[in-house]
């Protein structure tokens, strides 16, 4: 579908990479500069990979793909990520 989901839809795949749940974190968009909780990111899951877009400007913040033995991650759309340490 081309309707999007919320950031928690990325949390599962990202849990393979990060030791901390980044959906609690606040990310700043490299395109528009807006800060949003990663939980608020617009997620598109059905494509060949997962894409998280800025809720303000739709710029790609995070991209993730998985093959049977590899995971690829691109976060160049996030200029910074602020995470609470529990």
């Amino acid at each position: 579908m081309t309707t999007s989901l919320d950031g928690s839809a990325l949390a599962g795949p990202l849990s393979e990479v990060f030791a901390v749940d980044i959906t609690r974190g606040i990310g700043r968009c490299a395109n528009c500069g807006d800060s949003n909780p990663i939980g608020r990111v617009d997620v598109y899951l059905d494509a060949p990979g997962s894409v998280g877009r800025c809720p303000s400007c739709e710029h790609v913040l995070i991209r993730l793909t998985r093959s049977p033995d590899r995971l690829w991650l691109d976060m160049q759309g996030l200029i910074s990520l602020e995470l609470p340490i529990p």
């Binding site: 991209r63 690829w72 691109d74």
Partner: protein, 199 residues
């Protein structure tokens, strides 16, 4: 192998010889996208071909639709494993679109409204292998499937058939597109199951 879930069968999967390896047949037409459905109205639509020398040729919707077009039937293979056979389209062959454009370029970067890109050798767009398609199943191509116009290159995985296409950059060097730069195969031949880099 992951734990088998008792009694779980999943979707009907056929080992039909007409299907490339690892694919299953669908009868609906799944919509997959890396972003929101693009909304471009034909009065605003423009298609541009830029050669390696920087020369630009562009078409409006009117001039594009004035090009000779053809109706064709083809099979679609998506890297997410579904295949849809016998789909009916109408579009302009890239042979017609690119006729008269002088280039020594070997590679193409395809650009779409919304920022999506994909790359392939120029040779794979020619020789009756690719179209800019604007009608599907005898109706105007729906927005969710890439309307007003999409690229269609059926001999490669469907991620190469960029929806909401807006132009081609003809290049002497190969530039990986949106998925090719994130682990997907640079070429993407379904019959050789070239899904990921290194396949």
């Amino acid at each position: 192998m992951p734990l088998v879930t008792p009694g779980f069968k999943g979707r009907g999967r056929s080992s039909d010889p007409k299907l490339p390896p690892g694919q299953y047949l669908v009868t609906d037409f799944p919509v997959l996208s890396a972003g929101p459905t693009q909304r471009v109205d034909t009065p605003d639509w423009e298609f541009q071909v830029k050669t390696e020398t920087g020369k630009v040729t562009s078409w409006t919707w009117e001039s594009f639709r004035a090009l000779p077009a053809e109706r064709f039937t083809t099979d679609l293979h998506c890297v997410t494993k579904w295949s849809k056979l016998g789909t009916h389209w109408e579009g302009v062959s890239l042979d017609n679109l690119l006729a008269g454009i002088e280039t020594a370029a070997e590679f193409v970067l395809v650009r779409s409204y919304g920022g999506y890109t994909t790359n392939l050798p120029l040779a794979d767009l020619l020789g009756g292998k690719a179209w800019i398609a604007y009608r599907y199943d005898d109706k105007d191509l729906p927005r969710e499937h890439g309307g007003p116009a999409r690229l269609l290159v059926p001999h490669l995985y469907l991620w190469k058939s960029a929806k909401w296409v807006r132009g081609l950059d003809l290049r002497t060097d190969d530039q990986p597109g949106f998925w090719e730069s994130l682990g997907y195969h640079n070429y993407g031949d379904p019959w050789q199951e070239q899904r990921y880099w290194g396949d």
